[in-house]
Each structure stands twice: as structure tokens, then as C-alpha cells.
């Protein structure tokens, strides 16, 4: 075997592993003084990494390690999106990490986050179920540590425990399903397995089990029960990472495997998705209506958004893939902007995350209120913000394949979602408050990340070149 191929095609993962190890070493040797520069160095390095890998180097698909690992240009695109999301989360986390009890653990945050990112990258590029599973676990286990990062806080520890227990259960189910697949087809390679898929009852069962595992990561209904508690308890920076980056990776991996491996049983997984989409969108929306805590609120909003993302998966076309990636990108910008505001308000006001705390925010912090509003408008799909475009395209993708009723139900739900997004806008702009959040100035790196997200919300939709660029790479899936 020609080992140079590893470096030619696996450059993303290798570079990431390098960065992670370097961060670990720096954490060891840097003293109190060195840690001061840690944040700047990590963001700079990650930025360099994104700059180097944002455009895929190769236009062709390649297999290495005998098909365990598959390089494709589109997976390169998705990996760079994940890295961008991670960078934004890093930028927002500075203030929180600078607190007294987390300052000492600062390095761990970076290392753990980057480990999950490596896991997701392997999961995306897997060509073999074992590889896929290892990537998935690498993405889940450090995530549980991150959720419980504020370990002296009761909520955070509880959230971590809930997350790891349900994650392990989901992984167990998934492994069980994979074992059925192995038993009926005799292989774990994606390419070889397709031929053996004949739609027997056992295989359909394994499809369901496999779907459960990823449905958990995506927090689709009915696998969503961990979401609200974990989102509420986890540190806000981790919550935003969980709601965006982790979902993006899982959605992409799910689509690739459903199309590649389960192509012969397409009507089964489309029926499965059909129900799950309706449930996720509707139940996510209905529960979001009654939330008073913004982090819980965003948890349910992200459940329903995951349902919309699945509209791209159910189409099963290359165009659907494009819309899925574009949707995820736009969702990332909008959701991270919203979480950025929640995070900075929480850090600067002594932990205020209730919806009532946001009453009158526009009077005291107009810029944050406007960013939050635009982010929510984008999430609700209001033009001219990017969310409108991504929603329209993903609806078109599902509509094209004949899912008219499904798209209709999803559309009715956008009106419900608009209602609860407007509730927050109303709180910030219209409601009166005797003791609003005091005026404050966010830290520099949060401001940079919010500006980047804002630029994303406005530009991603209006500049068609980004969508076209993604569309170029999705052919040949």
C-alpha cells in the first residue's frame, strides 16, 4: 500500500490530530502566564487550519486503508464547515473559560472539543461501519466531558450524566443494528453491503436501530428526551457546539449512509423519516412555545430545526444534499449568533438566561438585541436573511420528490415557530422591565464571532455563489 495516499487524502484529520496534540502539550508546559495567550493561539491556529482546508484539494473520490476511509470533495466541504463552527464556538467561549474555576482547565476545553471534531471528521469519511462507529464514539465521549465541564455546578454534572447514559444507550442500539447487518450481509464495508441489502425483516430492524443511534445525535423526536435538560445544564458554549456542529456532522453522515448503504430499501427509510420529520418539527415547536428558559427554548427550537434538516435527507438527491449542507451552514450562523448573545448576556449579567430577563434588552444593549432579532428571523425563515433561502431550497428539494403534504405540514409549522421566535423579539423590544440587564460591553472575541455570524446571516443568502459552490461538489454522490 502506498502510504503517501494517507497524507494526500487524510490531510484534514492528520492536521487536526497535530493541532490537538500540540494543544495538549502546550497546556502541559504553559504556566499561568502561558495560558493567557492560549485563547489567541488556539483561535489563530484554527483559523489557519480552516484557511488551509476550506477548499477541497482533490476533485476525485479516493479510498484509503482498503476502503475503511473514503475521501470525497463534499466531505471535505462539510469538514471545513464543522471547523468554522468550532472556531466560532471557541471565540464565544473566552469569557466563560476565563472565570476563576475554569481558567485552570482552559486547555482541556480545547483538547476535548478538538477530539470530538476529529471523531466527527472520521465519522463523515468512514467507508466501513467499524470506522464509523469509532468516529461516532470519539465524538460522543469527550462531548459528555464537555457537557459536565462546570463539574462543581449541579446542573452541569447532572446534564453530563444524562448525556452519557442516553448516548451509550443509543450507541448500544446502533451496534446491535450493525451486528444484524453484518450477520445478514457478511460485510461491514459500505460499498459491499449494498448488494446484500434485500429488505428482509432483520435488515429493516437494523435500519431502525442504526437510525436510532444517529437520531439521538440529531435529537430527533422520539429520541430527543435528553436534549432539553442537557442543553440547559451544559455551559452555554458547549450547548451551542452541541446544537450546531454535532448535528451538522450527524445529519451529513446519516444522509450519506442512507443513500449509499440503504439505497435498496429507500421506501422504508423514507417512510421512517416521514414520520420522524413530522414528529420532530411539530413536537419541537409545541414544546418550545411554553419554555421560559432561553437555553431550553433553543433546545426545542433546535429539535424542530433538525426536522427541517431531515427534509434534505428524505429527498435523497444530490440537490437535496446541497440544500442540506447549505441549510446546516445557515443554521450554524444563525444559531451561533443566538447562542453568542445568550452566552454573553449570561456571562455579563451574573447568569441571566430567563426569557423575562430579556425584557427591555433593546433599551440597554441595542446591538445585542438587534443581532438576536436577526438571528431569530433567520431561524424562522424571514427574508432577506439567509434562513429564508435555506428553508426555501430544502422545501424545494423535498417537494421535487413528491413529498407535497410533508412540505405543507413543515410550512404550517414555520408559522408556529415564528410565533415563539417573535415572543423573544417582543420581550426585547416591546416589554417593559424595571430592572433590565445592565448595559455592558462584550469581550473582543465574542464581538468578532457575533460579527462573523451576522455577516453570515446577511450574506449567505444573498450571495448565490456559496450555494452554487456547494452544489458543484455534491454531484456524484
Amino acid at each position: 500500500m502506498d502510504y503517501s495516499a494517507i497524507f494526500t487524502y487524510m490531510y484534514t484529520e492528520i492536521a487536526l490530530i497535530g493541532v490537538t496534540v500540540a494543544a495538549l502539550l502546550y497546556d502541559l508546559i504553559a504556566g499561568r502566564r502561558g495560558r493567557k495567550y492560549f485563547h489567541g493561539i488556539m483561535c489563530g491556529v484554527l483559523l489557519l487550519f480552516i484557511g488551509a482546508t476550506v477548499f477541497p484539494y482533490h476533485k476525485e473520490t479516493a479510498e484509503i486503508f482498503g476502503g475503511m476511509y473514503i475521501y470525497s470533495p463534499i466531505s471535505g466541504v462539510v469538514k471545513s464547515l464543522l471547523a468554522i463552527g468550532t472556531l466560532l464556538v471557541f471565540l464565544q467561549a473566552d469569557k466563560w473559560l476565563g472565570q476563576k474555576d475554569t481558567e485552570i482547565k482552559r486547555g482541556e476545553f480545547y483538547v476535548l472539543t478538538l477530539s470530538t471534531l476529529i471523531g466527527m471528521d472520521f465519522m463523515i469519511s468512514a467507508g466501513h461501519f467499524m470506522m464509523f462507529f469509532i468516529g461516532l464514539e470519539l465524538a460522543s465521549v469527550p462531548m459528555a466531558c464537555l457537557v459536565a465541564f462546570d463539574k462543581y455546578k449541579h446542573n452541569s454534572a447532572e446534564a453530563g450524566a444524562k448525556f452519557i447514559l442516553s448516548a451509550l444507550f443509543a450507541s448500544g442500539l446502533m451496534l446491535y443494528g450493525i451486528s444484524f447487518l453484518y450477520g445478514t450481509t457478511g460485510t461491514l464495508y459500505f460499498d459491499d453491503m449494498t448488494a446484500g441489502i434485500d429488505g428482509s425483516a432483520l435488515q429493516i430492524l437494523s435500519l431502525v436501530f442504526f437510525f436510532t443511534g444517529l437520531g439521538f445525535k440529531l435529537s430527533l423526536v422520539p429520541f430527543h428526551l435528553w436534549t432539553a435538560d442537557t442543553y440547559e445544564g451544559a455551559p452555554t458554549a458547549v450547548t451551542s457546539y452541541l446544537s450546531v456542529v454535532s448535528k451538522a456532522a450527524a445529519a451529513f453522515a446519516l444522509m450519506v449512509i442512507l443513500i449509499k448503504v440503504f439505497a435498496p430499501v429507500v421506501e422504508y427509510w423514507q417512510a421512517l423519516l416521514y414520520i420522524v420529520i413530522i414528529l420532530s418539527i411539530t413536537i419541537g415547536n409545541l414544546f418550545a412555545l411554553r419554555q421560559k428558559n432561553l437555553k431550553r427554548f433553543m433546545a426545542f427550537s433546535s429539535i424542530s430545526q433538525a426536522g427541517y434538516i431531515m427534509l434534505g435527507v428524505i429527498s435523497g438527491t444530490p440537490y437535496g444534499m446541497t440544500t442540506l449542507i447549505f441549510y446546516v451552514l445557515v443554521y450554524m450562523a444563525a444559531n451561533l449568533a443566538a447562542f453568542g448573545v445568550i452566552n454573553t448576556v449570561e456571562q455579563n449579567s451574573g447568569g441571566k438566561v430567563g426569557m423575562d430577563d430579556y425584557n427591555g434588552l433593546y433599551k440597554t444593549n441595542p446591538k445585542l438585541a438587534v443581532i438576536m432579532t436577526l438571528a431569530l428571523f433567520s431561524l424562522a425563515g424571514i427574508p432577506p436573511f439567509a434562513g429564508f433561502f435555506s428553508k426555501f431550497f430544502i422545501f424545494a428539494a423535498a417537494f421535487e420528490q413528491g413529498f407535497h403534504v410533508l412540505v405543507f405540514i413543515a410550512l404550517i409549522n414555520t408559522v408556529i415557530s415564528l410565533y415563539y421566535y417573535l415572543l423573544i423579539v417582543k420581550a426585547m423590544f416591546i416589554n417593559r422591565n424595571d430592572a433590565p440587564v445592565a448595559t455592558f460591553r462584550s469581550d473582543g472575541s465574542t464581538r468578532i464571532s457575533l460579527l462573523l455570524c451576522l455577516a453570515g446571516i446577511i450574506i449567505l443568502g444573498l450571495a448565490s455563489c456559496i450555494f452554487d459552490g456547494i452544489n458543484l461538489y455534491t454531484f456524484g454522490i
Binding site: Y319, T322, F377, I382, P383, P384, F388, F389, F392, F393, F395, A396, F399, E400, H404, V407, F408, L411, I412, T414, V415, L418, Y419, L422, V425, K426, F429, I430, S464, F467, D468, N471
Partner: protein
């Protein structure tokens, strides 16, 4: 750059100018110069358009321009106008101009108010110049969402409830439109989003048309105050600040009628013919029910809002008659209603600003106290009830003439029923004028009030000139409209 693209571009620039403005004077300067520029440009557009037609250019859309935006879905930024859209653009420019003057005394959050107001006008202008389904829909939604904050923050009365109700109902309508647009696009073979090209293809299967036509028609009908989806309108208009009521009732509701005509009926003609009877019944109910409701209201804004339901119902009623005369009347009615309802809301805002009440039981004898405003109010009322010489007469006459042309029983009966609204309108308008303007003033506080200031006079006079202009010299406008309506109607009928 195409002259049409300037229409959404100027409000965008105004938003930028407002953003960097530091004082109230600068804000007003930006608004007045921008709004005047828009008005001038709209008048220039009318001249250019008429000139091109006089030169013998017979294409359906003039001043067209397009560039590809999203290739995978064949989405283009495509603009073009015909007589209908030119008339609508002129109307919007007039309302934006007068709305600026009508909100001259705004004191809280002036900057934000005008920024949202400009965003609203971006949407409105963009909608009327677009000939691409996607772009059109995008501008449509751009025009809807600023309403929430404009009403919620600057409104009066039950503003939060009204703002939410209005936004959600209109967004529900736009959800229907979105699915309808997807249906039209994929039904026509997914090759183009251009309205004229889809119409020329004329290949949407009839059973699909039967599904999409009611969906799209109701979707736009929500904004056009189609019974029973009109309930957002009275609450929304009553709670909105003056300029927003003007723009919303004057222009935004026309987006509904325009969309029903241009998208629902033009692109889905077979189903339109087959199913029009359902909507004719609904719009007849709108017309009569709106007028009766207006009779029993006691709030000035509610009266006008229900009167708008009645008059906008007449617009939809007329386009469903599917002949050139009635459709021309529909567009004239859009113009006429836009102008006079804006005048009404402006005057109500001015009266309310002085008396702090809109309850007609507490107002009387205003003619002696503020003669200028009162006379203008009488003029607006007379236009509303269709006095010859003012715009309302021209429009309603054309509509009922056209509607009666169909010689089957159904169309004639509904026309007769709809005609009764004229009488009912006269009842509530005259009762209103008699009650609040004449008689003796019972409230001593009101005796101290003053008449209109110069900024209010500008707003009111511009609108009255437009109303009288349309009423006295209707032909140039109705000719321009009818020659553009003709190809659309003949497409629907064939």
C-alpha cells in the same frame, strides 16, 4: 442599471442614511429627500412607460432585465413592468411620500421607526417590479415582517395582540403561497421561475391546477382581506401608527389583489375559470359584510378598516369576473382605495393626535375647530362613497359595469348584491361625518385645539390632488391599465 431596480435600492440607501443619522433633523432630511426622489422617479417611470407604449412597443412587460441568481432552481432576479405595476408603483411612491409627512411629529424611536418603514417600502417596491416567482415572494415577505415591530412598538391600543395576530395570519398566508409557488414551478416542468415564461408554457396539468389555485388564491387573499381571512385587518389597522396604517391599507393590501391576479389566475388559468365561483361568493360576502360591520363600529380606525375590507373585497370580486372592464376597474379600485384610505388614516391620525380619542361618541363639532382637516375628511368620505369627480366613482362604476357584462344569472345576482355596498357605504360615511364634524362641540377641551400644521397639509393635499386627478381625468390611467389587463385576461380565458 435598470431604472426599476432603483425603486427598492433607494429605500435601502435611505436605511443606510438613517442608520448613520445623528439628529432628528438629519433623519427627516433623509426621509424627505428619499421619499421625494421615489415620487419623482415614479412619475418619471409613468412618463417613460407611456412613451415606450406610444413608440409602439407591444411586449407584455417593458423595461425588462434579468440576471441569474440561483441556477439550480432557475431563480433569476428578473424585473419588468406593465401598466398594472406602473400604476401600483406610482401609488406606493405617493403613499411613502405622504406617510413620511404624516409621521412628522413622531417622537419616540424615530430612527428605528423610519428604518423599519423603509424596509417595508423595499418589500413593496420590490414586489411590484419583480417578474420572477421567487424574487416576488421574497419581497412579499420582506414587506410583511417589519409590520410586527412597527405595530408592536409604536402602535396604540391592544398593539401586541394585534401585531402578533396580523403577522401570524399573513405569514400563514405566505406559507400557502410558498407551497403554491413550488407547485407551479415543478408543475410547469421546473425550467423557469419567470412568470411570463411559465404563462407562455401553459403546461401545468389541470388536476394540479385545481390543487394549487385555491391555495395560492387564499394565500394572497389573506392579505387582500378575503372573507373569512380578513380578521387581522381591523385589529392591525386600528393598532398601527398612522404612517403604517396608511402604507398597509394603502399599498400592502394591494399586494394581495395583485398577487391573486398575476400569480394565481394568470399562471393557473384553467382552475381559475373552474373554481372562481367559490371565491366570487366569498368576496361578495367580504364586500357586503365589511360594509355592514363598518356601520356599527364606534372607533374611527375600525370604521375605516372594515370599509377597507369591503373595498378590497371589491378588488378581488372584480378580478374574478374575468373580463377586461372589470379587471381594469379592479386596478383602478386598488389605486383609488389606496389613495383614499391613506387619506383617511392620515386624517384620523391627525385628529387623534389632537383629541386623543378615536371614539366617535366623544367627538362632535370638529368643523368649527379644525376646518381644514374637517373639509379634507369630508372629501375623503365622499371619495369613499363614490361621488362622481373623485376616484372612487370611476373605479366602482367600471367594476360594476364589467361585472354585469356576464349574462348568466349567478354573476348578475352577486353583482347586484355587491352593489348594495355602495348604499351601505353612504350610510356609515354620512352618519360619521354628521356625527363628528357637525353639531356643537360638547367637550370644552376640544375647543382649544388647533388646525393642521404645514407638514400635515402637505400630506393631505398631495393625496387629495391625486384622488381628484384620478377622478377627473381617469382615461389616461384606465387606458394604460386596460391595455395591460387585456393580454392577461385573454390568457386566462384561453
Amino acid at each position: 442599471m435598470n431604472i426599476l431596480s432603483l425603486f427598492p435600492a433607494i429605500p435601502l440607501l435611505m436605511m443606510l442614511g438613517l442608520w448613520i443619522s445623528r439628529s432628528r433633523k438629519q433623519i427627516l432630511a433623509v426621509m424627505v429627500s428619499g421619499a421625494s426622489l421615489l415620487l419623482g422617479l415614479a412619475i418619471a417611470l409613468v412618463c417613460i412607460y407611456l412613451g415606450m407604449r406610444a413608440d409602439g412597443q407591444t411586449a407584455e412587460m417593458l423595461l425588462t432585465d434579468s440576471f441569474t441568481w440561483y441556477r439550480p432552481l432557475n431563480i433569476e432576479y428578473a424585473v419588468g413592468v406593465d401598466g398594472i405595476s406602473v400604476a401600483m408603483i406610482l401609488l406606493s411612491a405617493i403613499i411613502v411620500f405622504t406617510g413620511t409627512f404624516a409621521s412628522w411629529k413622531m417622537d419616540t424611536g424615530v430612527k428605528e421607526f423610519f428604518i423599519w418603514f423603509c424596509l417595508l417600502s423595499v418589500g413593496v417596491f420590490g414586489f411590484f417590479i419583480s417578474v420572477d416567482l421567487f424574487t416576488m415572494f421574497m419581497f412579499y415577505e420582506v414587506a410583511l415582517i417589519p409590520m410586527y415591530l412597527l405595530i408592536g412598538v409604536w402602535g396604540t391600543g391592544r398593539k401586541e395582540y394585534s401585531a402578533m395576530k396580523l403577522t401570524l395570519m399573513l405569514m400563514g398566508g405566505s406559507a400557502l403561497i410558498l407551497i403554491g409557488i413550488l407547485g407551479i414551478y415543478f408543475g410547469a416542468g421546473a425550467t423557469t421561475m419567470n412568470i411570463n415564461e411559465i404563462a407562455a408554457l401553459h403546461n401545468i396539468p389541470e388536476n394540479m391546477q385545481r390543487v394549487w389555485f385555491p391555495i395560492v388564491f387564499i394565500g394572497f387573499g389573506v392579505l387582500g382581506a378575503l372573507f373569512p381571512f380578513h380578521t387581522w385587518s381591523p385589529d392591525g389597522h386600528a393598532s398601527a401608527p398612522t404612517a403604517v396604517s396608511m402604507l398597509h391599507a394603502g399599498v400592502l393590501m394591494k399586494l394581495g389583489g395583485y398577487g391573486c391576479f398575476r400569480i394565481a389566475m394568470y399562471l393557473l388559468p384553467d382552475a381559475a375559470q373552474e373554481l372562481s365561483w367559490i371565491f366570487i361568493i366569498l368576496t361578495t360576502v367580504s364586500v357586503v359584510y365589511g360594509a355592514f360591520s363598518a356601520c356599527v363600529q364606534t372607533d374611527l380606525k375600525y370604521i375605516n378598516a372594515y370599509s377597507s375590507v369591503s373595498h378590497c373585497g371589491l378588488v378581488l370580486f372584480a378580478i374574478l369576473m374575468m373580463n377586461t372592464t372589470a379587471a381594469t376597474g379592479a386596478v383602478l379600485q386598488m389605486l383609488s382605495h389606496g389613495l383614499m384610505t391613506a387619506l383617511f388614516f392620515a386624517l384620523i391620525g391627525m385628529i387623534y393626535g389632537r383629541t386623543h380619542t378615536r371614539d366617535i361618541r366623544e367627538l362632535s363639532g370638529l368643523m368649527k375647530i379644525m376646518p381644514f382637516l374637517s373639509v379634507c375628511y369630508v372629501i375623503a368620505g365622499l371619495a369613499n362613497l363614490g361621488l362622481p369627480g373623485l376616484s372612487g366613482f370611476v373605479a366602482e362604476m367600471t367594476i360594476f359595469n364589467g361585472a354585469f357584462m356576464d349574462n348568466d344569472v349567478f354573476h348578475r345576482v352577486v353583482t347586484i348584491i355587491a352593489c348594495t355596498s355602495i348604499v351601505i357605504t353612504a350610510v356609515y360615511i354620512l352618519r360619521l361625518i354628521g356625527k363628528i364634524l357637525y353639531g356643537t362641540c360638547t367637550n370644552p377641551e376640544h375647543l382649544k385645539l388647533t388646525d393642521a400644521t404645514w407638514d400635515e397639509k402637505v400630506a393631505v393635499i398631495v393625496l387629495i390632488v391625486a384622488i381628484a386627478g384620478l377622478g377627473l381625468f381617469p382615461l389616461w390611467m384606465s387606458d394604460m391599465i386596460s391595455e395591460s389587463v387585456l393580454p392577461v385576461i385573454s390568457h386566462i380565458l384561453n
